[in-house]
Symmetry: C2
């Protein structure tokens, strides 16, 4: 259909949708950068969805039972900003639209959830929105099962582009959604056949509808500019028990000179072409001008859900006080009241019994006491349940017929798992954790970064965290992965030394509101090093003196995780030679860096020789060894400077020289 | 079919395949670790393939025109080791089989290509083998087009498991292979319906045959234990012009008490069960014992290709001396003779003309002169061709009907691209490079690590390498990505400051044999800083004095890439105040670390204040600031300590304080 036909067939719809197209053109022109084509292509779908189907109350973008709208094709951010502004979102004002892509605006180049409540997720890295949406849909199912349909009853809507569907993570996401039959998840594919390099065809000829059908999805194919087809498809999608994919045949940059071209994907800033496009739309208004009638129509759509929302508020108010409090607590992401006492009790017990267990097992011991008191946790593993020790007896398994189950078999999908967990955390009401081998941080990386950027407290349970993994060899032995997560802003990496520190790390992970946590856990058994019980969470300080020097303090050993016991053994050797040696356990660098200087100086005073011990690459260690009052000539590191090898773990530690003997020798060489 | 039936229907085949099964059982039992079930399940497929179809000469595992066998399900490494030992590979002896998973053996837990020539690839991280196989098949097509069928004419065979097919990268791989109609690629799916967590069904219900068909593959479904069905399917797959997937219904750990269970996936070490399994096989031999008849039969298979190989040697010998030399040069991975002079000429020219261009454009300038003299390069981009500047005029586009094309539109598949490039490099004869935004290092990570671990010189062209990317915002602005690649063993990260350093970096990348290179390139224009031409490749030293202090040397500024010109401008300010300031350009940390101490001391002498400048996180910088004769009290860093933001680039540099003014102020504060 040409524009003339589209205009004449549904004139009201046309002008309503044109508001999105023209705002996009104006904002991109003002910013002189951005992506015009996608919002212009998908304006019709978005208009039908937001005007007729989506459940929301524009004035209350954080209503917990709203439908979630996820723009997986995040480069088309002006679509979202237009919708928010037009419907009356309290934050995305016309001023923000005018400041598109400018410093300090809420209308960033790609949507950023931390900038405005109406922005559900941060998207842009392709496929992530789609993969997170699976987590949103799981969260909705789980919470509906927990709190009932009166309080939780909504859909998750996604707009995904060709890029989203080419990215590998899309496979993990749609397979997981299909397996779990997430019927409240509805994905629109912006089938515009154009990517940056040219027509999609030059790189991809996958039959996408067939692919989604193979994954267990309900699939429809429609003209993405025909409001009636869009409306009918949405209605059908909602009534189907499967997740739905609606393939919307669209024209990128509809009505612009760049329509149906790669150029149309990017910033359309030519003044005359902009004027011509608006003329073609029958849009006789100035830049950023939305005629009152159309703005009011949009605001009407934005108020459509107001009654629903107030009815929902009433239903919540009618619930018992305890139920209300619990609902609010979980959505606020606050930890259960009993958490602190539960952790303390476990710490006390293990400081007394001093078990020798792997920290992955320690993690399971923590979860065994935490999961029963924290109904908001939702655990899982990427097919390493028995190895990651992530499943506790009480959880049950989340499945099609058992939405109350709190454990997910994610399959061999580290990336999809990590992204889904982010989605759950963003949805609210769920505190997700999931396990894999630490080496597969690599697979989960794009989503782990987005956890940090989106400021969600996702917990990544990363076991088998060094050459201690043993015979599986270098493909499975992390070397650089602690450094990778430590280098990432707003991420906390915990490498606990025993059950006590593991419990403390979990407490911090479960009370975090805006920071994801990586738990670095061993495969191999470790002795209890915190044998004297302290109620205080020492891990919260990041590093602390675990064993003080006897006599003159000549050396400080800094160690994490499995190497803390190595450092303690080295201290024994050194003290036996009369060399006063302090051992500092450093379970969380980031938290230590946040401590004030007087505390840091107390832990790491100037003067003594310092040797760091960690079965990982030394990248980043100089901060603690040469920095923080240290000196290069008195600093050493015992760890890895290559990939690992396939052999029994104990042999590897000897082979790579990560032993108490080697640490002691390094100290004496530096004295 | 039960084992009795299988045995009686094809007794010779049965015993031949049983050799794989029993070697696997014995090796895993001896190691007390490993994965027994997969080799036991896929022994029949492997036997038919290696005995009847695969082109190889066991005595010459590095024959360039051999078929490639890729065990994507790398945990089943004993399948590969068994095949190599049985057919007479010169390296994988019985002694190696006995030393399975022991320190120093060639039979690591997962196959490692660097340990024996008969091991084509390093696998274990699931999906990687499948994704690399696409690169192998592309390399074969490309080299066949270049050198002709007489010299290049072989297949790529893959065994993939459920895990490989769940991983997202499998989607990118099969979509790319389908798009390119790589008919010489044949994948066996070990459809055993079992994963570590239980039956596949608990996590995945994708219709895999339908999924492959949707991606343009030829698909067959067979009984993976029936030698006749296997044989017929292979024959059909070879004759189909599409890539082929053969779904092989198998029983994991066939014939063992743990058959068809998750336990069967892992290490089967129970003594009595092992004996029982062998008895069921009709295998009356001791541990590691292969009866002469069966060993000879296997060795006969291993010699099947000997004639083919000698005929091939003759064909190569019959080619012109120049053609032979070129064939050998490209397969040896040696750079073209003209490379050095070509790079020097470009350096000289730009030192004179001093263009102000982005280093991504500089990279294109290098490729424009290098690609015409290096026919082994095969470039591409993950749908950012115009942004990554990876396509030069002479390359042509690799496509179904144009296998001579040397540029690949990889689509929005950073991970698949990186893995495919590794495959090409491992195949030999191709020097692959591919581009994306540096931030999407995250997507490519699993394959980038495998490039380093496999010691292949893949070139990762990572543009838009800082907040200099501008308005696209923090989702697209790398912060920790330099640290990620620098922390990885055996990886070189080049961050050139101008065209001259970019040319030097490319020269080093293209002459590397065993080390991948990351080129960190800017979006924004940079001045030429190397204005005095030197024929010597200064980047090869990793860091060097770019501008010496005038007067007493009070400060040293260390900078990389786009911040070298910031450091130079800061130096101007400081010198104007009479503060003698040296600027050290550090395009490659790893190469600088390899220099002897006397050179490093010359570049970074003790004494002066040191300030590092890099528009990235400071993680890792303390090595050069506080280490290497530095002192914490005289050290500073100007860079990023958070995620970036969406705004024009210049505003971001000012906002985050990465300016000449800030650098100069930091120096004076430290003096």
């Amino acid at each position: 259909m040409d524009i003339e036909t589209l205009r004449s067939r549904a004139p009201d719809h046309w002008m309503t949708a044109a508001a999105i197209r023209t705002l996009t053109l104006d904002a991109v022109a003002a910013a002189n950068s951005g992506h015009s084509g996608m919002p212009m292509g998908m304006a019709d779908v978005a208009t039908v969805l937001w005007s007729k189907h989506m459940k929301y109350d524009a004035a209350h973008p954080d209503w917990p039972d709203r439908d979630r709208f996820i723009l997986s094709a995040g480069h088309g951010s002006m679509l979202l900003y237009s919708l928010l502004y037009l419907t009356g979102d309290p934050e995305i004002t016309l001023e923000e639209i005018r400041n598109f892509r400018q410093l300090g605006s809420q209308t960033a180049g790609h949507p950023e959830n931390t900038l405005a409540r109406g922005i559900e997720v941060t998207t842009g890295p392709l496929g992530q929105g789609l993969a997170m949406s699976v987590g949103f849909a799981i969260a909705e199912e789980s919470l509906r099962a927990r709190f009932g349909k009166k309080l939780v009853d909504h859909h998750t809507w996604v707009i995904a582009g060709d890029g989203c569907l080419m990215e590998g993570v899309s496979h993990e996401a749609i397979a997981l959604a299909g397996r779990q039959q997430l019927g409240r998840l509805i994905v629109f594919w912006d089938n515009n056949a154009i990517t940056i390099d040219g027509s999609v065809d030059i790189a991809d000829r996958v039959d996408q509808p067939a692919r989604f059908a193979a994954a267990g999805w309900h699939v429809q194919e429609i003209d993405g500019h025909d409001p009636e087809e869009i409306d009918a498809a949405i209605t059908a999608a909602k009534s189907d028990p499967r997740p739905s994919m609606i393939a919307c045949k669209t024209h990128i940059a509809l009505g612009h000179a760049a329509q149906d071209t790669s150029k149309g994907h990017g910033a359309l800033t030519d003044g005359q072409q902009l004027i011509d496009a608006k003329e073609g739309y029958g849009w006789g208004y100035g830049p950023f001008e939305i005629p009152t009638e159309i703005k009011e129509r949009w605001e009407g759509y934005g108020r459509r859900g107001a009654e629903d929302r107030t009815a929902w508020e009433e239903r919540l108010a009618a619930a018992s006080a305890a139920r209300q409090a619990e609902f609010r607590r979980t959505f606020a992401g606050d930890a259960p009241k009993k958490l602190s006492a539960t952790i303390k009790a476990l710490k006390k017990q293990v400081s007394e019994t001093q078990p020798k267990v792997a920290t992955r097992k320690a993690s399971e011991m923590v979860l065994e006491v935490v999961n029963p008191i924290a109904p908001e946790t939702l655990g899982g593993s990427a097919d390493l349940t028995g190895s990651n020790n992530t499943k506790t007896a009480d959880l049950g398994v989340f499945d099609i017929e058992e939405r109350k189950g709190r454990y997910i078999y994610y399959g061999i999908r580290e990336h999809g798992m990590a992204a889904a967990m982010n989605g759950m955390a963003l949805h609210g009401g769920i505190r997700p954790y999931g396990g894999t081998f630490m080496c597969f941080t690599d697979y989960a990386r794009p989503a782990m970064r987005l956890a940090a950027l989106q400021e969600v407290p996702t917990v990544f349970v990363m076991t088998h965290d060094s050459i201690g993994l043993g015979e599986d060899g270098p493909t499975h032995q992390p070397i650089e992965h602690l450094a990778i997560s430590r280098a990432t802003p707003n991420m906390r990496v915990f490498r606990p030394a025993d059950v006590v520190e593991t419990a403390e790390a979990w407490e911090l992970a479960l009370t975090a509101h805006e920071t994801p946590s990586v738990l670095s856990l061993t495969r191999q058994g470790l002795p209890t090093v915190r044998t004297a019980h302290k109620t205080k969470n020492l891990t919260a300080q990041g590093a602390y003196v675990l064993a003080e020097a006897e006599g003159k303090r000549q050396a400080i050993l800094l160690a994490t995780g499995s190497e803390v016991s190595v450092a303690l053994a080295a201290r024994d050797r050194l003290q036996a030679e009369g060399i006063g040696t302090r051992v500092v356990s450093m379970p969380c660098w980031e938290l230590f860096a946040e401590q004030d200087e007087s505390y840091r100086r107390k832990v790491l005073p100037a003067g003594p020789v310092r040797v760091g011990v960690e079965a990982a690459c030394g990248f980043g260690w100089d901060r603690w060894l040469c920095g923080e009052r240290g000196r290069e000539k008195k600093a050493g590191f015992v760890g890895m400077d290559s990939f690992g090898s396939s052999a029994p773990a104990e042999e590897l530690f000897a082979h790579f020289g990560i032993t108490a003997e080697a640490v002691a020798a390094r100290v004496t060489a530096l004295l």
